[in-house]
């Protein structure tokens, strides 16, 4: 039996475009409880019960948060026997990370240009 088969999160619906992906990822990460769940899952996969036990939550409460993370493609949830397990989808974290990195690069370059401009300006009044 293959439980760990990687399945696309949305097989029936069309692929969301890059902007929609970023919207969902950052919306999912805009909640502190969901960020805590992401931190826990970064240490390894967990069952819904383990998340409820660790974060002092009800199963419906956990499920609500995990669904948002799942919609954003950040978490993959599947069933093994009687328990439901979750793990981080590293690829989607990379998408968010790549966007942040591109912005950092843009601003680093822009600030470098600004500082050169200011310095040159000071040299040649």
């Amino acid at each position: 039996m293959v439980y760990h088969q990687v399945m696309p999160t949305a097989t029936s619906s069309p692929q969301p475009d890059a902007e929609q992906v970023l919207d969902r990822v950052f919306k999912a990460l805009s909640d502190p409880t969901r960020r805590s769940i992401v931190i826990q899952l970064s240490h390894g996969e967990a069952t819904m019960s383990e998340i409820a036990g660790r974060f002092d939550m009800s199963l419906p409460g956990v499920s609500k948060h995990v669904s948002v993370l799942e919609d954003a493609g950040l978490v993959h949830r599947w069933r093994t026997g009687r328990s439901r397990r979750c793990r981080l989808q590293v690829e989607r974290m990379e998408t968010a990370n790549a966007w942040l990195a591109s912005q950092t690069e843009f601003w680093t370059d822009t600030l470098d240009a600004l500082s050169q401009f200011v310095e040159n300006g000071a040299d040649h009044p």
Binding site: E50, G53, F55, D56
Partner: protein
């Protein structure tokens, strides 16, 4: 969404008088010395011991994560009883608080500490809390008996 609430009760005899046990339970400098269970330690504690006052305990897990427990006192009755709400940060509009009631009863050999926790949001959380409280009470006993 139907919510099923869970509860627990644990108790332990501590060989010291009520005043000493109550102060160990409510003094941040002492709390950090006994609070914790199963590899979890309390690295920081702050509390405003008054009805309506709040408290926060930093629980550091063996994997290095720090989880803050927080709540508000509903009853402060030294050295007999305490009651406070309980939740794990981050607090948001859908935070599920439980209620903790602690009594310190004078018995022949010392003080019987009883913790009753109600409105626990899940059976899984209840099991975590039972282990937590048993470990905490053992730590409290250890701190008080070594003095």
């Amino acid at each position: 969404m139907t919510m099923t609430h869970h509860q627990l009760e644990v108790s332990r005899l501590i060989r010291a008088d009520q005043h000493r046990v109550f102060s160990a339970w409510t003094d941040p400098a002492l709390i950090v010395q006994w609070w914790g269970a199963g590899g979890v330690i309390c690295t920081e504690a702050e509390l405003d011991l008054a009805v309506g006052g709040t408290y926060r305990f930093a629980n550091q897990t063996p994997d290095g994560m720090t989880m803050w427990i927080t709540g508000t006192f509903n009853r402060v009755d030294p050295p007999l009883a305490l009651s406070y709400t309980w939740a794990m940060e981050p607090i948001s509009h859908d935070t599920e608080y439980s209620l903790v009631e602690v009594s310190f009863d004078e018995v022949t050999d010392g003080t019987l500490v009883t913790v009753v926790q109600t409105q626990i949001p899940s059976e899984e959380a209840r099991l975590t809390h039972v282990q937590g409280w048993l470990g905490c009470l053992e730590g409290l006993d250890g701190l008080i008996s070594k003095r």
